[in-house]
């Protein structure tokens, strides 16, 4: 039977197990939308195509599958660029489908024509321009395979309008995808394994660096087994949070620019770093010249292009983290590293007095309190989707994530506006889970139009706005490094409660610490989405902080014992 390219598209998506897509129609994708009505796919109408890509991203990160976003040509496609770049930086498997002008018009600057495969070339793992209906099925199959295998990433399929409209016979090919130049299944040699095993067994002061790759590889249990067996403490990257339960005794917490002080100090004293599915990003290392001066480095990653990119390593093992560690585990000797763990415990010594949690209620509402209370009320079981900035770091510090895939955040690209749409995607992937978007007042306004999507879909996603009336992280840098010249960081915000109400949602404003828990509880009880406007201390800063390019243990600490923020002085 003959099928149109548009019909083939939906059937091919169905064969990949796609049940939900996030999109926005338009001229060049209209044939696909017309055919959509014949297929059992849930289409979520977004308010901006960037939102569709973040939703697909959040869907993929929360559920572990592939997220799908769809848009028309030209502006529809270019609006996806930020979301695609976000997914690329954080290795998130999404497939973006864009309509394109008719193949005869390509290159003629036709209405709504953009060379989107050219535009997205450096920010996709791979992309396709499809001009014939008979190529649609194969492109979709390859796109899903490329997106989710190896180091995952975004793949874009640009389909011309005539390819959607044309009909052809279709034979579904169930064989494995064969891409001659694509080898996601790298394996390290035996000698390299042995070198790594010897180094681990000889190490006195090792630390495991837990990255996003642990989740992507599904290696949580084997990482935990290695850590417990050899008694090696585990430090988290931002995207690694959740790969080992926060309460696990070997979990040190987050490292890097806003990492825990003792973690960064421990890294500088370590004699072996084990990078598991992470990439030694500049936010993690600080000054490379003085980084972990006494440590040898073992790097396990599925992407060999990450080896020696930022930090020169002694042994690099290419491959799927889970299978690499499974192979190594039986050869790793049981370690007694109590001396090392004791040293790290001592480093935690002065932390308690600096911890904002231990300070008396002085009438100020601090974001850290909000996050900490949110954690307590939700018992650490929610999926929390954060935006980018101060609230993101406070969330990473004060929400204790016990489960993998429960913190979803834009790490690599640092995309403001990510949280709200990504939370929508996460909720569609995990409808049974409690989903919170934790956002700043700045980032929230970048994609707040998706509140309409939440209302239209009657989605239960709670939104906690950490509202300090500033672009907080930029303000903090201005305070620390630009002599408090607050250029273009103060925000005049709308009334977020009324904004929620305008969307048919409820809003609650919270201005004091005593209101946090009742506010969170009230939001949880309501059937619909609730916007919580937490009006927090305006000039609070995230501590500790390693200034960009400084030595990792050269941290700006929270003033102690009294919290002095700009507002107090």
């Amino acid at each position: 039977m003959k099928r149109t390219g548009a019909q083939i598209l939906w059937e091919a998506l169905g064969r990949e197990g796609v049940s939900t897509v996030f999109g926005y129609p338009g001229g060049a994708i209209l044939p696909a939308y017309d055919a959509l009505l014949e297929f059992p796919v849930k289409h979520v109408l977004v308010r901006h195509e960037q939102g569709a890509t973040h939703m697909a991203d959040g869907y993929a990160r929360a559920g572990g599958g592939v997220g799908v976003a769809i848009a028309t040509s030209g502006p529809g496609a270019t609006n996806m660029v930020t979301g695609i770049a976000t997914a690329m930086m954080d290795s998130s498997p999404i497939v973006c489908i864009t309509g394109q002008v008719g193949s005869k018009l390509i290159g003629s600057d036709a209405f709504q024509e953009t060379d989107i495969t050219g535009v997205t070339l450096p920010i996709t793992k791979h992309n396709y321009l499809i001009t014939r209906a008979q190529d649609v099925a194969r492109a979709v199959k390859e796109a899903f395979y490329v997106a989710k295998s190896g180091r995952p990433g975004p793949v874009l399929i640009d389909i011309t309008k005539d390819a959607q409209q044309a009909s052809c016979e279709v034979e579904w090919d169930d064989s494995e995808v064969k891409l001659p130049g694509y080898r996601p299944d790298l394996r390290a040699t035996r000698e390299v394994y042995q070198q790594a095993i010897d180094m681990i067994n000889d190490a006195k002061r090792p630390i495991i660096f837990a990255g996003h790759g642990i989740m992507l590889s599904g290696a949580m249990d084997v990482v935990r087994a290695v850590a417990e067996h050899a008694n090696i403490p585990v430090a988290m990257t931002l995207l690694g949070i959740g790969s080992l339960p926060a309460q696990h005794p070997l979990n040190l917490g987050m490292m890097g620019m806003h990492g825990e002080a003792w973690v960064n100090s421990a890294i500088q004293e370590a004699d072996l770093l084990l990078g598991f599915g992470m990439r030694f990003d500049d936010r993690v290392t600080g000054n490379l010249a003085t980084y972990a001066p006494n440590a040898k480095k073992i790097h396990i990653d599925i992407d060999p292009a990450e080896f020696n990119k930022n930090v020169k390593v002694d042994v690099a093992l290419a491959g799927d983290l889970r299978s690499v560690l499974e192979e190594m585990l039986p050869h790793i000797s049981k370690g007694d590293r109590s001396a090392w763990l004791g040293t790290i415990d001592e480093m935690k010594g002065n932390v308690a007095v600096r911890d904002i949690q231990n300070l008396p209620d002085n009438g100020h509402l601090y974001a850290a309190h909000v996050i900490n209370d949110l954690w307590r009320v939700t018992e650490g079981n929610a999926i929390v989707v954060t935006d980018v900035g101060q609230h993101q770091m406070w969330e990473a510090q004060y929400y204790k994530h016990e489960h993998p895939r429960s913190l979803i955040t834009s790490g690599g690209l640092g995309t403001m506006g990510f949280a709200l749409p990504a939370a929508v995607g996460a909720k569609f992937a995990c409808p049974e889970k409690e989903v919170w978007a934790v956002v700043g007042d700045g980032g929230f306004q970048m994609t707040q139009a998706e509140l309409s999507t939440i209302a239209q879909e009657q989605l239960k996603v709670n939104i906690a706005i950490i509202n300090n009336g500033y672009l907080g992280m930029v303000r903090q840098w201005q305070e620390f490094f630009y002599e408090r010249r607050y250029a273009a960081t103060p925000l005049l915000n709308p009334d977020f409660v009324k904004l929620a109400e305008a969307h048919g949602l409820s809003g609650i404003a919270v201005t004091e610490r005593a209101g946090v828990v009742p506010g969170v509880e009230a939001a949880r009880e309501q059937a619909g989405a609730v916007v919580l406007d937490f009006k927090v201390e305006q000039e609070d800063s995230v501590f500790p902080m390693v200034p960009a390019g400084a030595d990792l243990d050269d941290m700006i600490r929270r003033p102690s014992p009294i919290v002095e923020t700009a507002a107090d002085t």
Binding site: P122, A188, A305
Partner: protein, 188 residues
């Protein structure tokens, strides 16, 4: 130092753009890039010359492999290999100077492939150094135009690893037995 890569790619629209874009995006400057068919249909071969250090060369190799359409990357810099550049040089030639030019052409084992009333076109192949030398001595007569292909290179002796298996995979005939180059070791 100069690194020379032989890069096998699928012969598909846009592949040159993908490869070139990678160099731009990772801030490497291409000194020369040539591309043409190989003995295997559907497979093109690029010779890419880049000025970078060893660390940069390894990064490039790893990143090239991430392109789905790239089949194989050989860094032939340190292997015994032959490199050739082809140039056509149009030089002013009056009846008085033409003989001198022809003599120089002979010395360099180049050829005159076109003669016009007041100019000649010289064709030469050789290493880039040799061509640079010829251009240098021709300058006094007036070089009107020059075109060069850029470097093409090939390792001497037997093939490095198998493009045989690449060819099979392009044809969809290859089995999945890991070959030596599948068994990549990234030890440093």
């Amino acid at each position: 130092m100069r690194h020379t890569f032989a890069v096998y790619v699928e012969n598909l629209p846009g592949v040159l753009n993908r490869v070139a874009s990678l160099f731009r995006r990772r801030a490497f400057n291409i000194e020369s890039l040539t591309v043409g068919h190989t003995e295997t249909s559907g497979v093109s071969r690029m010779t890419i010359v880049v000025d970078t250090d060893e660390h940069g060369a390894r990064r490039l190799e790893a990143n090239l492999y991430k392109l789905v359409n790239v089949l194989r990357v050989d860094d032939i810099t340190l292997r015994p290999s032959v490199e050739r550049d082809l140039a056509m040089i149009k030089v002013s030639a009056t009846p008085e100077t033409r003989t001198h030019i022809m003599q120089l052409v002979d010395v360099f084992r180049a050829r005159v492939i076109d003669v016009a009333p007041d100019s000649v076109i010289i064709e030469t192949t050789g290493t880039e150094d040799k061509i640079d030398g010829l251009v240098e001595v021709l300058k006094q007569y007036g070089v009107i135009e020059m075109v060069r292909t850029g470097c093409v290179a090939m390792a001497r002796g037997p093939r490095l690893g198998g493009l045989g298996d690449v060819a099979e995979r392009v044809g969809g005939l290859g089995d999945e037995t890991p070959t030596d180059d599948n068994n990549v070791s990234y030890s440093v």
